[in-house]
Symmetry: D2
Subunit: 342 residues, 4 copies
């Protein structure tokens, strides 16, 4: 059994890590830290884990050595603590934004602050297994992708790799309330947040930087709209093919890249209710579902991607990387199929 | 008092017409037809109207002469009945799609059927008062716009009129379940429809034809996504300015066109929760709220528009046109401000 | 025109008062106070009122004399300010809990604090017009009922008055999130509040005291469950008839009491989707819908009542009382019929 | 491996059976029948199972022999087919209502039809493992309980067994849309069903008969209200203690009965957001959460129970019984802990 500890376990990402790792046959959960909830039972904050664990949170000051440390802290924190974390564990998986961008300048440009551990940036592998499987296997440090970046990159990667689309890409993202984490405000107050179609970030989304890093050459515009959904993320991506292409050929492009991927499903059905990716049925799963449709009227290609932002977009992605880093089957503890109806 | 009758009053548009016209000080509601519910009380189908009216539906065969006929039938029906309707009333407002397009060929192209009254197409004015106020005042026949076309056209019109944007326009529409009317199916079954982010029409939306007709020169791609909302419609429109422009200049463009419009609000706030248009607070109102944001990263302009699809997008638009056609104040019976919270 | 000012206008009740009074033909809105938002536009907090008003909030310290003062402050505040308010206006309508109970001891028992203006308690009339119409007409001080008490009292009043039911009454209330007002917390955070069926007050609801005051002899148990609804309130009331009775006779009891009431509808249909009261279609209206069903298996009588908690349960009730106090038609500015679908 | 087939696999219960059994280490799924979808892939109807299985439905006529047959047909069907099913498999688990009641007369009274296999009624064990564990282990025929009966019986059983409460019990049930299955109608149409608090069965719920059978001596009144929830069920049960009792004593009563139950959790917290049972966090799990509160004002005891109607209320309950019937650990394939937030 490998000893895994979680730093920052009281947030939503921490809760999902706990849920998945408590059932992982190779992992012994050692410690879960929380400043706010130290010494209180994990199930106070994550009530779904009642009866599944009687662990309590420990103060960050009491963090002990372990085999793998998974860090689930707000953006901007882990970069100041990373050297300390490296003395606690040989392998580290970071879920925040601090170590995703390899270029220090890009970090400053998009996060409007100086990077406090810029020398470590090159040590981290970007955590999307479908793009960096071999690097992750051989790495000790992984920075998991942002949820919005994850689904966009996975949806576009085969098209970019095969030179199918022009560089201008517009990503229209439909976002859920759990993406903002547990910090509440009037804007997350139920009477104000329920039923919204809120253009909370029409331009300027910071995941743009990750996407442009991973899919070099693209010029990305993201518009993010928050809708009445707790968990889930769908992107409608508006692209233009470089040359005339058929849907059958696009299908082949996706299949050639993703044929053996356990967590990618190409969803483009002629019948049934779920003809395109739908985040509703992905809740709790590590799937990324991808579909597409050609617009004959304007010669555009619409690509649709969906994930559970807290699983494939965060905690599941981390466990997938953990499985690779430890040499276990990649799908270990990630086989939940999702619920229908829900 | 002007005598108004409604043909097809048992649908959602019919219900909204009834709600608005029952409180209209100049209108005497004469008849409301319904094949399915003939002789049954209006409030059986529209329970919000209990105590507000004791009218019953009449069979279409019993339609009498009146001053104004408002037709709320499914697409493809009114074109076969219009000559009959013209013998019943001097003025006709049609809510369906049959008489919106002036070009018979475009109708065939987008609706995949032959037009049965092509000779009448030129007699109808397109029903958006903000674009065709004077024509509507002087017309006897008005074809109200589709809901998705209404909000898109109103959002883009000042930009096109002032030559601000390039011709390629991508409209990402977030749609509600009432837009499909009262015909139920497995796809509208609550366990399947609740919580969806369903890409039900990634390409090929028929309102494209109306938008391209009204905003000549544009090349429009619509992607429509159904979300968990009963009433309301938001479009996120992705455009590119022809030349470098500031947000202040864009603001002036909108103000110059819409300064005196009673139902248009430019919504672009620096603070508060409702900084951009939000359909949630437009339920029941005849407003079209419009906002915008420049994307400095990619030099694009994102325009956001919101309406209540059943009011400004259908019944309210019709009553606004009715008020113009009859020489009444344009806002008569359309002053409901909407609810907050909701 | 009568000059009306609102104290505490930035909450949800204040917003509804504004919405209703801005369209009231006899009322001139003079001032709206808010500590937090003084000098800021009303529409910042109540975005539905954009274009309907350009009023700004004033600091409470700047409150001027007026004809009628409507007080919408959190519970426990107005009792310390009432003497000051009485110097500002001849007529006062209070929306909080402070002056609802005539018995000082009951106030202390249920609110766990000493009443600071106990001498004024007898001056206030309880604000449900259907029970106290003549007293309200002749009174200068009205204390509006709690929303949960309003719908329960109106649902039960004819049964109690006609001696139909035994004294033990169980009220199972389904509550919405707007009832808690604008104060946000983790419990109102969208990811935690959305989709709940939360037994937030299985026993001990403070409105019990009001109900037992108005319906003397009843012994009331309330269980309150919060559901995923922003606005609206439904009570399922479990009672036992004293003697064998038919549904037809119960119908007569309700009709005998409520026949001429403009805002009460008895809803008990044999067909249609809305056979019983449904808060969904009451949003924005001042209606209280009431239905009932006899349980032959156990000889019980189930009574169902629904209102919009912010209208009939708060602001609409206040305006109804205002209309009576000023000698205007009782329904003035309260005729919105509600939306369907919604 | 035991060969299991499912009759009626295209409904929601069938889908959940498939989801759970596809991951069951001791079960080989042999056939899944569906009249409507014969020869079509299972994932067309249950899109969450894409990639998890490539099984197709078979026509009921092609049902082969197997070890265990699980029957998930609409009420009233299996009683006419049971003798046929008994020739196909030694063990049968029926999810419908036909074999739940031991008394033929009660079946006729509550289902308003004659039982077509009354001679078989006595062969079936009622499928709640917590009450009938030993009988289920030794039985070949199990009839799973109705979802509403399941949560009510489990919530009340310790109180009845220990003689704590009087016989009159009022169950106020909050129901979800999946309980009605996949048959759609205008009443399940999203614009009509979304946001409802619909008193769809104020009296006369048929599960009354099951509850009174299992908890002899009780006199049960159920009022069922449908709310805007796809999956989940909460009951608020209003009871009266026979004698003065403390909450601590009630706690002991529950613990004495349920201490070792793997799927029962007593939820009654002093802090946190989830202080009482909450169906929201039970989606996909086999838990039944139970809480309670004494009402000092009226000396009543409110009991609260929550389940996922499709798991503990249907498919999970069936697999729990299957595990017992086959001598496997009772929790096999039922350990999903549920999601938070959701």
């Amino acid at each position: 059994m490998i000893k895994v500890s979680i730093v920052g376990g009281s947030g939503y990402a921490g809760g999902e890590l706990l849920r998945i790792l408590l059932q992982h046959p190779k992992v012994s959960l050692q410690q879960v830290t929380s400043r706010q909830f130290a010494n209180q039972p994990v199930s106070l904050v994550h009530p779904n884990l009642r009866k599944a664990t009687d662990m309590s949170f420990v103060s960050p000051a009491k963090l002990e050595k372990c085999d793998v440390l998974i860090v689930a802290l707000p953006n901007g924190i882990s970069m100041s603590l990373m050297n300390k974390f490296k003395r606690k564990a040989k392998k580290i998986i970071d879920l925040g934004a601090d170590f995703r961008l390899h270029d220090e300048g890009k970090f400053t440009e998009w996060y409007h602050q100086k990077h406090l551990s810029a020398d470590l940036l090159k040590q981290f592998v970007y955590g999307i297994s479908e793009l960096h499987r071999e690097e992750i296997k051989n790495s000790d440090y992984v920075a998991c992708a942002g949820c919005e970046a994850t689904v966009s990159i996975l949806s576009l990667f085969p098209l970019v790799k095969n030179n199918v689309i022009e560089s201008e890409v517009i990503i229209d993202a439909k976002m859920s309330s759990s993406q903002a984490g547990m910090s509440f405000s009037l804007s997350s107050h139920h009477p104000e947040r329920s039923g919204v179609v809120r253009s909370y970030m029409p331009t300027g989304h910071r995941h743009t930087a990750e996407i442009e890093q991973e899919l070099a050459g693209l010029n990305v515009s993201i518009s993010a709209t928050a809708i009445d959904m707790v968990r889930g993320l769908l992107v409608t991506i508006h692209t233009r093919p470089k040359e005339w292409i058929t849907e059958k050929e696009i299908w082949k492009v996706y299949k050639s890249v993703y044929r053996d991927e356990p967590f990618i499903r190409i969803v483009k059905e002629k019948s049934g209710l779920y003809r395109y990716p739908e985040p509703k049925i992905l809740q709790g799963t590590n799937y990324c579902d991808i579909g597409f449709e050609l617009d004959k009227h304007t010669n555009r290609l619409v690509v649709i991607g969906a994930i559970d932002n807290l699983v494939k977009g965060t905690a599941g992605q981390a466990v997938q990387a953990l499985n690779l880093m430890c040499g276990w089957p990649e799908t270990t503890s990630l086989t939940f199929t999702g619920l229908h109806p829900i």
